[in-house]
């Protein structure tokens, strides 16, 4: 018989718990008194906080955090990574998100101490390299989008939208225009209407026509003196180019409205066509999409906004500028104000600029062409089983509808997404855009090989064929089964709200 010993408390952490096994929380691994390491010795004697701070504000007891060894810590987070899909692991055709491969050179750039360890409030004489990075990236973006000036500050696309709409508002105010509404197609991403409201305008939804495009005639019916502008993506969210964009621009400009370009889909047209040449006045780009900066499990992103010359004076500050004596920081004369605590998600700029410099102008143009080639190739391959919502040549992504599969077999877009997870692929975006019934929005990106596209197409087709058998179709409601978690009960999460370990009971 083994000698008796009291339980150690906590859970063993060195036993591999690979992908499929639930991982305890870091708090479950905690054992009182354990720690990862010591802090540096400053040579300064530790004083009593009560001698320095108002006693009534001092904590009664230390704040409890997990108490683990570094080995436990590393084991825990490493096992969590085994339960996580990522671009580096495999194909991630999440429409509208441009999950392209993120070249590692940018990681190395981001880690250079003169990039990573610079204080944002250091005097300009100490940040000349950073200001040059900012100015150069602005130049690249204005060339790519066909605009005159840019701000890098918005931290993501949505913040870029709001920044752009406030610029729109400042423009109208400066001209004495009284505008109340912004037009948005019914295919738009949710951030667009949400941003319109936050900018103080009313969002007015414009219907798309049967070809998935803005219906210019219908649009004319919405255009009046109260229209501040329109927000469009081009290509739009069904992956089609709005060929009548010049007519749309003329219509909006005829009431002194402005055109806002949501750059989420810029990956289709870099070096091919430019929003500025199409008549757009304000353009945001998503560095975390088009320019290959990693998505970070949900962020950070970066949403620079570029504008036409007559809007440059409204850009947010502080603003890096070139002067005769190097770089400086300024505020545009009629600036809408500051939009970020400092200069925005700066390290993301360095990554994006490194990517752009590596590809060069021609490489960027080839990037877009191959993104469009991949999308059309995949679309054609699966077309017999997954009809595209709209037949024409798509840009860098496309939307298929599984409405017929659902009608015939009861298998929904969501079930197909889950079945794909079992095949080792990330799922496409589902149920967006809202104008397509049972939508799968597929964006392969240019970094996937033909072999990967073929394998994905085969899996998709095999899944479609499975739906023809009623038993197999029924079992698809239970997919996935090979993933770290099986289908997750979302309704229960909302019903029994537990958003921290301390809320469990």
């Amino acid at each position: 018989m083994t000698p008796a010993i009291a339980p150690a408390g906590g859970k063993a952490s060195s036993i591999p718990m690979m992908g499929g096994t639930p991982e305890p929380t870091i708090f479950d691994l905690s054992v009182a008194g354990r720690r990862c390491g010591t802090l540096r010795d400053t040579g300064i004697e530790i004083i009593d906080p009560a001698s320095q701070l108002p006693p009534e504000y001092l904590r009664d007891a230390p704040l409890e955090l997990a108490e683990v060894s570094e080995r436990d810590l590393v084991g825990h987070y490493t096992r969590l990574t085994h339960r996580q899909f990522s671009v580096d692991l495999g194909f991630y055709p999440l429409g509208s998100c441009t999950m392209k491969y993120n070249p590692k050179l940018a990681d190395q750039v981001a880690a250079i101490p003169g990039i990573a360890n610079v204080h944002p409030l250091a005097p300009v004489s100490l940040i000349q390299g950073w200001l040059e990075i900012c100015c150069t990236l602005e130049d690249y973006l204005t060339e790519i989008t066909g605009m005159a000036a840019a701000t890098l500050a918005p931290a993501a696309g949505a913040q870029g939208e709001l920044t752009g709409l406030l610029i729109m508002e400042a423009y109208h105010r400066s001209k004495g225009n009284s505008k109340t509404k912004v037009l948005i197609p019914d295919s738009a991403h949710g951030t667009n209407p949400a941003s319109v409201t936050l900018a103080g305008y009313r969002a007015v939804t414009v219907p798309s026509n049967s070809r998935g495009l803005v219906d210019v005639e219908a649009l004319a019916g919405f255009v009046d003196e109260e229209v501040a502008g329109i927000m469009l993506t081009n290509p739009n969210t069904v992956g089609l180019f709005e060929a009548e964009i010049a007519e749309i621009a003329a219509l909006i400009h005829s009431v002194d409205g402005l055109l806002y370009y949501d750059g989420a889909t810029l990956n289709a047209i870099v070096g091919v066509a430019r929003p500025g040449d199409m008549g757009f006045d304000i353009v945001h780009s998503n560095l975390h999409k088009t320019f290959a900066t990693p998505h970070g499990g949900g962020g950070p992103g970066s949403g620079p906004v570029a504008v036409a010359a007559h809007l440059a004076k409204f850009l947010p500050g502080p603003y890096p500028v070139r002067t005769e004596n190097g770089f400086d920081v300024a505020y545009p004369e009629a600036s809408i104000g500051r939009v970020h605590s400092f200069f925005g998600n700066a390290v993301v700029y360095a990554r994006a600029l490194a990517f752009m410099k590596a590809l060069g102008g021609d490489g960027l143009a080839m990037m877009s062409r191959l993104a469009v080639l991949n999308a059309n190739y995949l679309k054609a391959k699966i077309a017999p089983y997954y009809p595209a919502a709209y037949e024409t040549t798509c840009m860098h992504e496309f939307v298929v509808t599984v409405a017929k599969i659902k009608k015939d077999s009861g298998v929904r877009a969501l079930d197909i997404a889950k079945a794909l997870l079992d095949e080792g692929f990330h799922a496409p975006t589902v149920y967006f855009p809202l104008i397509v019934e049972e939508a799968l929005m597929i964006e392969p990106t240019e970094t996937e090989s033909r072999q990967t596209l073929d394998a994905f197409a085969e899996s998709l087709i095999e899944i479609a064929m499975r739906t023809e058998d009623s038993d197999a179709a029924a079992s698809m409601h239970d997919a996935p089964s090979k993933t770290p978690a099986s289908r997750v009960d979302e309704a229960r999460a909302a019903r029994h709200l537990v958003t921290s370990v301390d809320a469990r009971n």
């Binding site: 708090f27 906080p49 108002p54 504000y57 996580q84 671009v87 949505a158 103080g200 180019f241 102008g361």
Partner: protein, 448 residues
């Protein structure tokens, strides 16, 4: 950089043939000729990755990072704390770095659980039950807090203390114009405490910082009483390192607590990417901006995580959503959670003690040597204003040439009333006794 795209010429040809196309350009037939760019982009040619990295090394050489050659005593919302090797190593794992928003929870348990644990930690720091999965930075967290308070109270008047970071106040002003919030500034007195207005009718929220931008502790209870009397919410902008020694904002009655999470293991990064911390009460959860991770079960009955209460968000509520945030700062949230777990209960407290002790050592020494006027108000944690006779920005320049980032000049847009001609100085656990001694020596010389 050929190799970024995998296609061989033969593959491109075969794929085009499959599509019955003869060139890549034909893919763009739906774009009217007049809109096609008829030239190449006016950008430099591509280069190999080693050349690009060298180019950035040259650019980086024209920056002065904080280092042994430039000892950092600057804060002002961005602090030079130690970053542990495990935080960097684990936070750089590509499963976290190259994933996106966990739309498919069955293959995103890693990010979801890391966020759930992050929410737990930040709820403990803030003392408030509900924490979201991050916002862009401290200033965007403040903006969302103001929007929440105005939505909740159906009022638009917001009283904001001058002790809130001036840059955050600028951001709040920018984003208040759309919804039509009225921001009113409550100035600081010469001890660094907010002078709240007498008329508090129809106030949606009082915003106070803890410690404030000057590093000083204010009467949070006074603000709480005013808020309660006015039927307003109390928004507290806190410092997530100071809470190692100080009571949490929630314990002091905050309805919403926001913070800049950068001090929790995120490099200075020229100001971003940083991390907006946002916490509120369970009662206000339906007004919460951003994503929220909840615990649930999968069909096998195993514990699993998923984003929850999604009906608040822009993709579902669209123009009726109270926030437009989509992409957030998840990776930075994961870094913060790893760093906090590395520190653990005792390490976290020790950081606070070392910051406080270092700050006290510096201020004692400045007082002893008669350097400027050290202003500690009702108490300072790791930062304080030093009022001096020379121009603070000039002093920063002079100190830089001696190897110190001496602080943040409270001038121009960072000016604070009653604190003219002052330098804001911060001491973290990184600063040793001998570094502080040489800092004081240099400052004595520069101020002579």
């Amino acid at each position: 950089m050929s190799g970024f795209t995998p296609h061989t010429q033969a593959e491109i040809t075969s794929m085009l043939e499959f599509l019955s196309l003869s060139s890549l350009d034909e893919l763009y037939d739906s774009i009217p000729q007049a809109l096609l760019l008829s030239r190449s982009l006016n950008l430099p040619e591509g280069r190999s990755e080693v050349e690009v990295i060298e180019e950035f090394e040259d650019l980086a050489a024209r920056n002065s990072p904080v280092s042994k050659e430039l000892l950092c005593f600057a804060g002002g919302g961005a602090y030079d704390h130690d970053l542990y090797a495990a935080t960097k190593a684990l936070g750089s794992r590509s499963e976290f770095v190259t994933a996106y928003t966990p739309y498919q929870p069955e293959v995103a348990q890693g990010v979801l659980q890391a966020l759930f644990e992050y929410q737990t930690m930040v709820s403990r720091l803030s003392g408030l039950a509900i924490t979201n999965a991050s916002l862009y930075d401290g200033s965007s967290a403040l903006v969302e807090a103001i929007n929440l308070a105005c939505a909740r109270t159906k009022r638009s008047r917001v009283i904001i203390s001058e002790g809130v970071n001036p840059s955050w106040r600028e951001v709040a002003a920018t984003f208040s114009s759309g919804p039509g919030h009225q921001l009113e500034l409550a100035h600081l007195d010469s001890s660094g405490c907010t002078i709240w207005p007498a008329n508090t009718s129809e106030v949606a929220a009082f915003v106070v910082a803890y410690p404030n931008f000057l590093g000083l502790i204010e009467e949070i209870s006074a603000a709480r009483q005013l808020a309660s009397a006015a039927g307003a919410l109390l928004i507290v902008a806190y410092d997530p390192i100071a809470t190692s020694l100080l009571k949490s904002p929630g314990a002091l009655g905050a309805d919403v607590a926001v913070a800049e999470g950068q001090p929790l293991g995120i490099p200075l990064s020229f100001g971003g990417p940083y991390l907006g911390l946002f916490s509120t009460t369970l009662e206000l959860v339906r007004y919460l901006p951003g994503r929220l991770v909840g615990e649930t079960l999968d069909t096998r009955g195993n514990r699993a995580y998923v984003t929850t209460l999604r009906a608040r968000e822009q993709d579902i509520r669209r123009e009726k959503a109270s926030s437009n945030v989509c992409t957030n700062q998840t990776l930075m949230a994961i870094w913060a959670a790893i760093q906090l777990s590395w520190l653990g209960t005792s390490g976290y407290r020790e950081i606070g003690l070392k910051c406080l002790s270092g700050r006290a050592y510096l201020t004692d020494s400045l007082k002893r040597r008669g350097v400027g006027e050290v202003r500690l108000g009702r108490g300072s944690f790791r930062e304080f204003p030093l009022t001096i006779e020379k121009s603070p920005s000039q002093v920063v320049e002079d100190m830089a040439s001696r190897g110190f980032l001496a602080g943040v000049a409270l001038e121009g847009r960072l000016a604070i009333s009653n604190f003219d001609s002052s330098l804001l100085i911060a001491v973290t656990e990184k600063r040793t006794k001998s570094q502080i001694d040489s800092f004081v020596d240099a400052l004595v010389e520069v101020l002579k």
